[in-house]
């Protein structure tokens, strides 16, 4: 139910805000992990699940920042680039992992926009990757 309401809100928001123009879309979600930032960062670098969907562009150790691009092509969004950052949590044994994705819808010409190629579809599809992705990564780190 929650998910349906959320999707409806996302669709409503997207049609209101971005009915025209080649506007980049943004999905940004965070998860708190019960492990130090250093441990979480090391785990991220060795985590193979993300690399099934994305290719690593770079790992910046100093900033604890990873950059990715997409491998998958059969997706309802385009020009996808993402970064995952590890930040300090409330204490030494807590970290916050933030995933920011930037992408466009697949249809970039004049409206009307065909069904399934609009901003709302693209946002919903990326959310399907980011949300469960972060949950899976949290489980993996906390079970180590």
């Amino acid at each position: 139910m929650k998910k349906i309401i959320f999707t409806l809100l996302a669709i409503l928001f997207s049609t209101l805000a971005f009915s025209h123009g080649p506007t980049p879309q943004k999905v940004q979600e965070s998860v708190t992990i019960a492990a130090s930032p250093e441990k979480t960062w090391e785990a991220l670098k060795n985590y193979s699940e993300f690399e099934k969907i994305m290719k690593v562009r770079s790992f910046k150790d100093k900033l604890m920042k990873a950059k990715y691009e997409l491998i998958k092509t059969d997706v309802p969004f385009s020009d996808y680039n993402a970064q995952i950052r590890v930040k300090k949590g409330k204490n030494d044994n807590e970290s916050v992992v933030q995933w920011t994705a930037r992408f466009y819808r697949t249809y970039k010409l004049n409206p009307p926009i065909p069904e399934g190629q609009d901003d709302a579809t693209a946002v919903a599809a990326v959310k399907e990757i980011v949300g469960p992705g972060l949950v899976g990564f949290k489980k993996s780190v906390e079970s180590q």
Binding site: N81, Q83, T100, R102
Partner: protein, 328 residues
């Protein structure tokens, strides 16, 4: 005799007093205008994600105001002398005009098409707007506050710059990998090939500078003999601007700025910014470089002399400001 001498001393003192007072009054007026709010340099940041413009005082580095504009604001330009800020809203197909003295919205100009980027011609008090979908460049008269001309251009017009020296409108055609140059009579002077996916453009003197997003490079095009050369920057450059014979380029994927010396043709510095830096502009008086960070919803401020990072300031959601966004 004695009386007369005393009198003359008195009058000398009086005249010195009056002269000093006169100078103090002059000084007061001179400096009071300097301290007026109207003369404060400000940055206007379009926040595409929440339909606002953040107005930041570049002396105190504090946010003065967050102004509601149209839907999905992106492009921006400023008529410095008239103190007017023009913001293009791609969601509502219009331009919000902000009076930069009081920072209030004074007018909404309907376009009927999505404005992607804006540039200004200060001599004619005109604004040029690229229309991505219908392949036009619209002219807006700042005196009439309406569209006065539509120029048909090549496909996917994206970035636009106005070259004061030649009175040229310089436009990137993103999906055609070309740069188009139009003169003041709206005639095409030249169509020249760029790198792959040209987006942001800057033009000054005899040159145009283009950011080639998919080539990770910048093309420099000579507007006299049409020769060109390229230099490499970071990943996915979005915009380029020149300040003191130095080119500054935003690398959206690297979260950096490449600083390139146009004289020695060498990269002199790479600076870390916030996430997904898109656009940049300069405060001339205090030598500040301001960068908009789409990813971290903020701006990064640097000193252009020492390249020192001064401050990161939170703005609204998805800060972009594609164009000139600093009131000097």
């Amino acid at each position: 005799m004695v009386k007369q001498k005393k009198l003359s001393i008195f009058s000398l003192k009086t005249s010195i007093f009056f002269i000093l007072t006169f100078f103090l009054i002059i000084l007061y007026f001179y400096f009071s205008s300097y301290f007026e709010v109207n003369n404060v340099s400000k940055a206007y940041i379009t926040n595409q994600g929440d339909n606002t413009v953040s107005i930041i005082d570049l002396e105190t580095l504090k946010t003065l105001k967050t102004l509601k504009v149209g839907v999905a604001p992106l492009g921006i330009t400023i008529l410095q002398k008239k103190k007017l800020v023009f913001v293009g809203n791609v969601g509502t197909d219009d331009i919000s005009v902000i009076d930069a003295v009081n920072d209030t919205l004074i007018k909404t100009i309907k376009l009927g098409t999505a404005p992607l980027s804006l540039a200004s011609n200060p001599e004619e008090a005109e604004i040029y707007v690229t229309d991505w979908f219908q392949n036009n460049v619209l002219t807006i008269s700042a005196d009439e506050m309406k569209v006065t001309h539509r120029l048909k251009v090549g496909v996917t017009p994206s970035g636009i710059a106005y070259n004061k020296k030649y009175k040229y409108q310089v436009i990137t055609n993103r999906d055609a990998n070309t740069l188009e140059i139009y003169n003041e009579d709206c005639n095409l002077v030249k169509k020249i090939e760029t790198g792959n996916h040209p987006f942001g453009v800057f033009s000054e003197g005899d040159f145009a500078y283009v950011a080639n997003v998919y080539d990770d490079s910048v093309s420099i095009i000579n507007l006299v003999d049409w020769s060109k050369y390229e230099f490499m920057v970071g990943a996915h450059p979005y915009n380029v601007k020149v300040h003191n014979k130095t080119a500054y380029v935003t690398n959206t994927i690297d979260d950096t700025i490449t600083i390139y010396d146009l004289g020695t043709k060498k990269i002199i510095k790479i600076l870390d910014t916030g996430e997904t830096p898109e656009n940049l502009d300069f405060n001339i008086k205090q030598n500040l470089l301001v960068v908009t960070n789409w990813g971290s919803d903020s701006i990064s401020i640097f000193d252009t002399e020492s390249f020192r990072h001064i401050k990161e300031i939170k703005t609204g959601s998805q800060s972009r400001s594609f164009g000139d966004f600093i009131l000097q």
